[in-house]
């Protein structure tokens, strides 16, 4: 294989990996105070992409305004999901995994409503301001500025998320709730309020992911399911709850996917990725960067 081809594959792999990492981080945000893995998170990313198309492409809203509106809308949907599908179920001690089905149900509703409203065709979304989809040549390296933008935004946004958990009292309160819910309550911290906030923020982050990824992925109502699975794979490899681990795992997974596309057809690629996840879990059940005892595996 030529160096150019290899580098081009790596660029694609890193870009897609960055997107997968962002999806994984949005899962983590909702997961931390609740231990709930939101099965509808992939659809929230899809909503981000589709609303971006509806507002920016169709209604010609300027990008900066558009992304704000999209983030607010999807955050509200995330909050709505928490109230309707999550809050009642995590309170029940007997059926403590009922949220698997209720969040799954919510995702089914979302994807099918969107299908009805928008149809399933792929749509175009404008790139990040200042970036384009045109390719740039740099020696043997070929890339588009949008791809670079995606990777940078992923890294920067994850840094922001980590900063919030490490340097704000609210972020530390979320970690406290994850560690010992009752002790948190006895300090006046309200787990239910933090849960609502977290789900809303997870929705916001998913929206950001959708808006930023859509120019490359093409917005369509069908992208949610694939992103759900990829996001899970990244978390499984990187370790649930670890955001930097998600970035590392995402980039790695993206490259494996990209390079294997030379030889493998989509079906075999899926199986390969699944096999990689299973092997990692066999050897490190808590992921490469996860912590023992922190999460139930």
């Amino acid at each position: 294989m030529l160096l150019e081809d290899l580098l081009a594959l790596l660029v694609t792999g890193l870009t897609m990996g960055a997107i997968y990492a962002m999806v994984a981080v949005s899962f983590n945000v909702a997961y931390k105070p609740t231990n709930v893995f939101n099965m509808a998170q992939g659809e929230l990313v899809m909503l981000g992409a589709m609303f971006a198309w509806a507002l920016m492409t169709e209604k010609h809203l300027p990008w900066a305004l558009g992304i704000l509106v999209v983030i607010v809308i999807v955050a509200a949907i995330g909050l709505f999901e928490e109230r309707v599908a999550v809050a009642t179920l995590i309170r029940r001690p007997s059926n403590h995994h009922g949220w698997i089905i209720s969040t799954l149900a919510f995702s089914i509703i979302v994807i099918n409503v969107c299908d009805r409203v928008w149809g399933s065709d792929a749509q175009v979304v404008p790139p990040v301001p200042g970036a384009t989809l045109d390719t740039v040549q740099w020696g043997s390296l070929t890339f588009s500025t949008q791809q670079v933008a995606v990777i940078l935004i992923a890294a920067a946004s994850i840094a922001v998320v980590e900063w919030v958990y490490g340097h704000t009292l609210a972020g530390k309160a979320v970690l406290a709730v994850a560690e010992d819910r009752d002790a948190a309550r006895l300090n006046g911290i309200s787990p239910s309020r933090l849960t609502m906030t977290s789900f809303a923020l997870a929705g916001a982050y998913a929206a950001l992911t959708g808006v930023v990824a859509a120019p490359l992925l093409l917005a369509s109502t069908t992208i949610g399911l694939g992103l759900l699975v990829k996001g899970f794979m990244v978390l499984a490899i990187g370790g649930v709850g670890s955001n930097w681990g998600a970035l590392a795992a995402g980039l790695m997974l993206g490259c494996v996917e990209s390079i294997s596309s030379v030889q493998l057809t989509p079906g075999y690629r899926q199986l390969l990725l699944l096999a990689v996840v299973l092997v990692v879990l066999l050897v490190r059940p808590f992921g490469l960067f996860g912590r023992r005892g922190l999460r139930e595996v």
Binding site: N112, Y268, L281
Partner: protein, 611 residues
């Protein structure tokens, strides 16, 4: 013990029990389906598909409904079975029947392989792996298009032939119905035996299962294999009924459909899949409701049911049947009500309901347990002679429960050794220790709430049962005989604790104190040679304490060695042969009850008094 179909009327009732609502509805649905199938070609095809879906859903019900393992790969497994039959008959000229067996085998293998990660992973990890698997199968259908026919699919799947005659139309429909009926019977046998209870115990958390000596890994593998085989089998019929097999039929929605049918129909109930398919497939099809909104309706239904009606349709009907039976029996047992007075049964003779056993001795040497900075046990050495009753007492945090957990294998020791019956058992897991005929109870009772008292007690006999899975599935004579004998023994134990009159009630409806007594009875039917009790007297009323005393006498009669953690000093003084006092992980005093409670040191440890 007919759990789902038969009436829950008390055994002593003289009049014929009226059929339950569940039975009536199920019968009506089946008869209605047959009638519809006879009335025209469109309905015949619809009913054939419905029967295939019921068959497949019953397989998923075992995995997701009973064992509680949520899987979204079932549609993909049916797909695999469908394609296996299609390819075998069309490309390789096989007959239908061998292809059907191939489909079942293929389904079983795929499912077993899929299930391997589930042996070690938690529920939601596994759900996503099944989703990934489903997507992979869909993609592979296209990748292997020379084999599978790609988007065009495979045309001309053979119909089954019976004695030279091709079976189609109503014949094919009947065949599927008969297959489903046979499966119903087999599942009924399995679910009302130790295998079914063991599967349900997985749903409620492994701890109970392992404490009974159940190998959860093997059981899960069985659940996967079985549900996969059924999916494959259903796939074979599906291929034959459709005639043309294309990837379009097997989108991700197909797997969601099966999950939906099982969860909404009623998870963990035999009639669940029938109700699910009837209400959520047949009915919408017949009413011609807008197909485009079908999936949205499924999603909304799933959400509403999971929040408000987690037991599904069958669960709601079963609750109705229970209330009716309770009213007829004259005792109102709504859940969570004030405890019903314990039945004043005749205090039976102290003879133990089970045979004598050879009690095992226990020897602990320098046992240490360190948790993260806390030394729960700090060099404990102890000898318990076979057949004796030994009680461990001590203030809060002294390490009593930790000690029990270590003897029963739930915590591995940090240092020191444990010998049971002279054998070194240090580091062995709970299942392995349970198989040495060691039983234990927990601070909170861990009965299986949905099963009756009788079934719960019988489940304790898990390690004693000799009948194999196949014998249970087909109700062969040895299985039936064992069941009868164990039922009788279980009833004797329930009589000993004064609960024989409530043998057919759900364990979840029993007040706490009585649940504890039932749990001890369950431990005893396993004929343990060593029994560990964790605070058996906690929260018991005066009457229940009397029953507990009887239990202690029966245990002594049996010859079982008993090690017990207890606070209730009178009870301790009454029954204990020897007492150990723990304080902060070390032994403070050992001896008879009199010696120990007269020791000034012990009094001081408890009260800090220097008087």
């Amino acid at each position: 013990m007919n759990h789902s179909i038969a009436s829950a009327a008390p055994r002593s009732g003289g009049s014929l029990p009226l059929p339950t609502l569940m039975l009536v509805i199920s019968a009506l649905l089946v008869l209605g389906g047959i009638a519809a199938a006879l009335s025209g070609a469109y309905l015949l095809l619809l009913m054939t598909f419905a029967a295939v879906y019921v068959l497949a859903a019953m397989g998923l019900n075992l995995l997701t409904g009973y064992a509680g393992i949520v899987s979204i790969a079932h549609g993909a497994l049916v797909c695999v079975g469908t394609y296996a039959t299609a390819i075998a008959t069309v490309r390789y000229g096989w007959g239908f029947w061998p292809s059907m067996l191939l489909s079942a085998l293929v389904g079983m293998l795929f499912s077993a392989v899929l299930g391997l990660p589930a042996l070690r992973l938690s529920s939601w990890y596994f759900v996503l792996i099944t989703i990934a698997f489903s997507l992979a199968v869909t993609a592979m259908l296209n990748d292997l298009r020379s084999f599978t026919g790609g988007y065009g699919g495979i045309v001309g799947v053979a119909k089954p032939s019976l004695m030279g005659l091709k079976v189609d139309g109503f014949g094919l429909f009947s065949m599927v119905v008969i297959a489903a009926a046979l499966l119903w019977w087999v599942m009924h046998n399995v679910m009302n035996s130790r295998m079914g209870w063991a599967l349900q115990s997985i749903r409620e958390g492994d701890v109970r299962a392992r404490a009974n000596g159940v190998s959860t890994a093997r059981l899960r593998l069985f659940a996967f294999s079985f549900s996969g085989a059924i999916a494959g089998l259903a796939g074979a019929f599906y291929a034959s009924a459709k005639g043309v097999v294309t990837p379009e039929d097997f989108s991700f929605d197909f797997s969601i459909f099966f999950l939906f049918v099982v969860v909404l129909g009623g998870p963990g109930r035999l009639a669940g899949p029938l109700l699910g398919v009837a209400a959520f497939y047949v009915l919408p099809e017949m009413l011609g409701s807008l197909k485009e909104y079908r999936m949205i309706a499924y999603g909304v239904g799933l959400l509403i049911f999971s929040v408000f009606l987690p037991e599904g349709l069958a669960g709601a009907i079963a609750a109705f049947d229970e209330r009716r039976a309770a009213r007829r029996a004259g005792t109102a047992t709504p859940r969570g009500a004030a405890p019903a007075p314990a039945v004043a049964a005749t205090r039976s003779a102290p003879a133990a309901p089970s045979e004598r056993v050879a009690g095992m001795g226990v020897a602990l040497r320098d046992l240490v347990k360190q948790f993260d900075g806390v030394r729960a046990l700090d060099g404990v050495s102890l000898d318990v002679s076979p057949g004796s009753i030994h009680v461990i007492v001590g203030p809060n945090g002294s390490g009593k429960t930790t000690l029990l957990n270590m003897i029963s294998g739930f915590y591995p020791p940090t240092g020191g050794s444990i010998r049971i019956d002279g054998t070194e058992v240090t580091g062995r897991g709970p299942t392995s220790i349970a198989r040495m005929r060691v039983q234990r109870t927990f601070q909170t009772p861990k009965l299986l709430g949905d099963l009756t008292l009788l079934e719960n007690v019988r489940f304790g006999g898990y390690v004693r049962e000799r009948a194999s899975g196949v014998e249970l599935a087909l109700r062969l004579p040895r299985a039936r005989r064992e069941a009868r004998e164990l039922d009788a023994e279980a009833l004797r134990w329930l009589t000993l604790v004064g609960l024989a009159g409530r043998a057919d009630e759900r364990a979840a409806s029993l007040p706490h104190g009585q649940q504890r007594l039932v749990e001890i009875a369950r431990a005893l039917i396993g004929q343990p040679r060593l029994l560990l009790l964790d605070e058996p007297a906690a929260g018991l009323s005066m009457g229940e304490l009397d029953e507990l005393g009887d239990l202690m006498r029966a245990i002594r009669q049996m010859g079982t060695t008993l090690i017990m953690v207890e606070h209730h000093i009178e009870l301790v003084a009454d029954v204990a042969d020897s007492v150990t006092v723990l304080d902060q992980g070390r032994i403070l005093a050992q001896g008879t009850a009199e010696q120990v409670f007269n020791s000034a040191e012990v009094v001081r440890a408890y009260t800090g008094a220097r008087k």
